[in-house]
């Protein structure tokens, strides 16, 4: 019974595919899985939009939308209908082909990332040997779509927004990759299913998730920062801040194309949270050994929604960072900590099992953090601002 509920989607897939002749079965299976992903995540997107508006509202001492359905649950549907029926305005001097392709490329590359995420036991679309690398390759292609959107609009504000977005995404891409490398170092494989299986062990009822190790916690924090910056979420949403650049690189988009950008941003958030849960939070494994009877896909999606809630929480709390502050933060603080984390992970691996490696690794990371923190706060002589690289 437990086994069935855990594998229910796999069994459903096998049953549906068994109606077809044998040579067509792999293709049909892949197509059905892909269709399931393409249907599920936009539905989750609608839920996330509702959650964001209500959540942000409550954090700001107000109600969110509550008129459209019970508790405003039909608000995303109303938004969807609105964006579908709005006129699609393309500027006359815009580059029509690139302007059309930009949201398409964005949504396609974002959805491709889901192909390697293990959403439950045996529930991966493609179990690639270099799964993590595939995911990052798709993430890198997203930046191209952002640039295409900004440039094709022939609008200097869009172009500025796109340049800022691409610069931010490239800087934090480095951080994202480096903070994920520590997981690969310890697991010894780029395959996401292997990474989840390596975390699926329990000691005294507590799981072996990587977040519960010193290097894992540091890696997770840096991954979270990089993920927030990669998806252009607050506090890193300068490229699309409404009060800064109208709407940044998607200023000139209206109607359904804007809805596609919006969808792409939220689905990218899901995708990167999914990868974060897989790498650091144990993917589909249960938090305690006595809870393993709950189906694995429930754990995965709960952790995913928890990450989304944390994203919303950060958005409701923190003010926006300026472009130079955000780049400064990436290159001068997070990246050195990432490199130090690599060193600490190596030490963890070679110090052998026991309490010594916990103490040594935690001490190094804490000292570095405190040292940098104190160092940053010491040289706060506020003089006239000068830029060495941007005159």
């Amino acid at each position: 019974m437990i086994e069935t509920s855990d594998q229910i989607f796999v069994l459903l897939l096998h049953w549906l595919v068994s109606f077809l002749p044998a040579p067509w079965q792999p293709v049909a299976s892949a197509v059905l899985c892909a269709a399931a992903i393409v249907c599920l995540f936009p539905a989750l997107f609608a839920l996330a939009v509702w959650l964001e508006r209500k959540g942000l509202g409550r954090m700001q001492n107000r109600l969110g939308p509550n008129r459209v359905g019970p508790f405003g649950l039909l608000q995303p549907i109303a938004d969807g209908i609105k964006s579908l029926t709005k006129e699609d305005i393309v500027p006359l001097s815009a580059d029509a082909a690139v302007h059309f392709l930009a949201p398409v490329v964005l949504v396609v590359t974002v959805f491709m990332g889901f192909a390697v995420l293990p959403m439950g036991r045996n529930m991966v679309l493609v179990d690639l040997d270099a799964g993590l690398l595939f995911y990052f390759a798709m993430g890198a292609s997203t930046e191209l779509a952002v640039f295409m959107a900004g440039w094709s609009s022939r609008n200097k504000y869009s172009l500025l927004g796109a340049m800022r977005a691409v610069a931010q995404m490239i800087s934090y891409e480095v951080v994202l990759l480096l903070s994920s490398v520590v997981v690969v170092m310890i697991t010894g494989s780029l395959s996401l299913t292997r990474i989840v299986e390596a975390q699926n062990h329990y000691t005294w009822g507590l799981p072996h998730w990587y977040i519960f190790t010193p290097w894992g916690l540091a890696g997770f924090v840096m991954y979270a920062i990089a993920a927030t910056a990669e998806t252009n979420r607050s506090p890193f949403d300068l490229p699309e801040g409404e009060s800064e650049l109208v709407a940044g690189y998607h200023t000139e988009y209206s109607g359904f194309k804007f809805a596609l950008f919006f969808l792409g941003e939220y689905v990218a958030m899901f995708s990167i949270s999914g990868l974060g849960t897989t790498l650091f939070l144990g993917g589909w494994s249960a938090p305690f050994s006595f809870l393993t009877w709950v189906p694995s896909w429930i754990w995965f999606f709960s952790k995913l929604m928890l990450s989304i809630f944390v994203f919303i929480w950060l958005r409701g709390t923190l003010p926006r960072l300026r472009q130079d502050q955000l780049m400064n933060f990436a290159w001068k603080f997070v990246l050195p900590m990432c490199l130090l984390n690599l060193l600490v992970t190596g030490l963890w691996r070679f110090l052998g099992d026991g309490w010594l490696r916990w103490v040594v690794c935690s001490a190094i990371l804490l000292l570095a953090y405190v040292g940098i923190a104190l160092g940053e706060q010491r040289k706060k002589h506020i003089g006239p601002r000068s830029y060495r690289y941007a005159e």
Binding site: D95, D129, F134, F136, A137, G139, A140, E173, S189, Y389
Partner: protein
Amino acid sequence: MNLVFYLLAALTVAGGLAAMLLKNTVHCALALTVAFAGLALLYLDLDAQFAGFAQLLIYVGAVAILVVFAILLTKGSETPKDGVFSRTWLAGLAVAAAVFAVLAWSILQSVSRLTQAAKAPAVTVQQIGVALISRYVLPLEIVAVLLTVALIGAVIVAMHEKEGGAQ
């Protein structure tokens, strides 16, 4: 030599041709990106997962962006006033034909040496990693030094000249 290979080859060659022939420089850069992606898919067709995804990550994710930035930050994004073909096109054609002849000769020589269509060896990422650290560690370190030098050079070139020397 199956259908997939021909399709991907056509995509790559089309991307390369478009990158040469289109008038708008940014369109050329995007067509070049299509060519890179086609190449990555060709690697994937040969089951070289690491090479394929690394090609996508590096070329499409970084080199294409770099090319596009370079075009935008210089005057390349405006359409050229006096045509896209240079005046010395005959010499260029001769050089290109010579290079093509050399490449084609070497490829045809190697194809005729193969007795049967050999299956590409399945190389895992771990094997690549082990090879990089053990057998090819010198090229790895040289490339690392080269990248560091390039990074520092870029920073120095972009740095605003200060009177008291670089800090």
